[in-house]
Symmetry: C2
Subunit: 227 residues, 2 copies
DNA sequence: GTCAAACAGATATTCGAAAATGTTTCTCCG
DNA sequence: CGGAGAAACATTTTCGAATATCTGTTTGAC
């Protein structure tokens, strides 16, 4: 047994590069439709073919990249239709999750929502330089997760998480992060209040409006090509 | 341009073995929890490591297999809780799909439901030897798909398809295929009738009951270990 | 001048061997 | 006899080279 520094369960190069690729995909570093040549990826991530191919195959199953046989991988393209489909599914899945969580959640769940809401409120979304703050991103993600976490369905949470990530990719693809245009923080507070007070009708209404507004802003912003 | 026999767009070994592995997983040939050693897989499928690893990583993303780093892949385990979770999600997702399809489907959609219903009715589910007929399986799958096909959401259909496959794995894991115990064919006819007549309430009620009954039989059958 | 076949270069796919990690067995000391 | 440590083994993970496929361009026939 290791004495002090348990060397953190060896991770494989595959899972490392999977995480990094996923991050870069969601960040928008890797642009939609862009070809992913293995020579480039090998050089960029400093890694061999095998782990790269395995990671990309996983990401293909998650629809974050596409594989055309014998032609290679590309970053999943974006489209207005796809964004609207994500919006539709998110509204359905997330409100289902909130409804269930309201029904099943215990005190610990309520307390966690209050905690994540507080942490989110205490952090500005943009840094002084106008960049998106990664710490805010993390808290935002944690806040939204806390709402549905008690829904009781593993599979619902899995579907939800993937939809969250896909939506996030679209969001971050816009340079005008759609958050300056409205009082994001207030919306979050209202949602949290409705959920904790177990008002399912209000909560689902507010969460759907929250998602719709983000998409409306994305669609009206002129900097997202193709859409 | 090829003249006559377009040589069916070259498929990679990876996608071939992916299909075969997936089939064997859903068939129940590969038993839950079973270790998937590469030496065995190489010999069994007559293929090298690389395509195998890539296929397994895809299947891991679909939760049909599990990967424990540095220890290898196993067939995804089964449990009563997981089966009930699949049932819950299927009821929600499929009834959502049917509701939408009823709202949006056109004449072609209706016609296709009548066609798949007919084809399903004309085929016995069990061969004379008491085995499950693969052709019936295909028609059954096509029938259920036809109901929701017009829902208009690509992502809903993707989630639905994966849930269908997971449910199918549980179903086929039972030797007493849960179909002798009731009039499956009649249930299918009733569902089709409700959907085509655009009675969303009846259709969603019937489809949920249809799924629940299958699971009830699975849970009451004594031949499925672990459950 | 146009079209198609053939060539050349780029790239993806696959294999076989090397490296790293996990697991079991054996040995030696208390 | 029991348990820690080391060695041997089994297995997964990763790399580098060989193979197959695709893409673009050139050549030659009509």
């Amino acid at each position: 047994m290791p004495t002090i520094a348990d060397p953190i369960r060896q991770r494989t190069l595959m899972s490392n590069v999977y995480d990094r690729l996923r991050q870069d995909l969601l960040d928008g570093q890797l642009k939609p439709g862009m070809r992913l040549r293995f020579e480039d990826l090998k050089a960029w991530y400093g890694i061999g073919l095998s782990p790269l191919r395995e990671a990309l195959n996983r990401l293909a199953a998650e629809k974050l990249v596409e594989l055309e046989e014998h032609k290679g991988f590309r970053v999943a393209p974006i489209s207005k239709a796809d964004l609207l489909d994500i919006l539709f599914m998110r509204k359905e899945i997330e409100s289902m999750g909130i409804r269930l969580a309201i029904e099943k959640g215990d005190d610990r769940w309520e307390a966690n929502i209050l905690a994540t809401t507080h942490e989110l409120r205490k952090r500005e979304s943009l840094t002084p330089e106008g960049r998106i703050d990664p710490e805010w991103e993390a808290r935002h993600r944690a806040f939204h997760f806390s709402l549905v976490s008690a829904c009781g369905s593993k599979r619902l949470l899995e579907v939800r998480d993937l939809l969250f990530d896909h939506a996030d990719r679209y969001r971050r693809l816009s340079h005008h992060y759609p958050m300056e245009a409205r009082d994001h923080a207030l919306e979050h507070d209202d949602i949290a209040k409705a959920v904790v007070s177990r008002d399912a009708e209000a909560a689902t209404y507010l969460i759907k409006r929250h998602f719709s507004r983000t998409v409306d802003i994305l669609l009206s912003a002129p900097d997202l090509e193709i859409l």
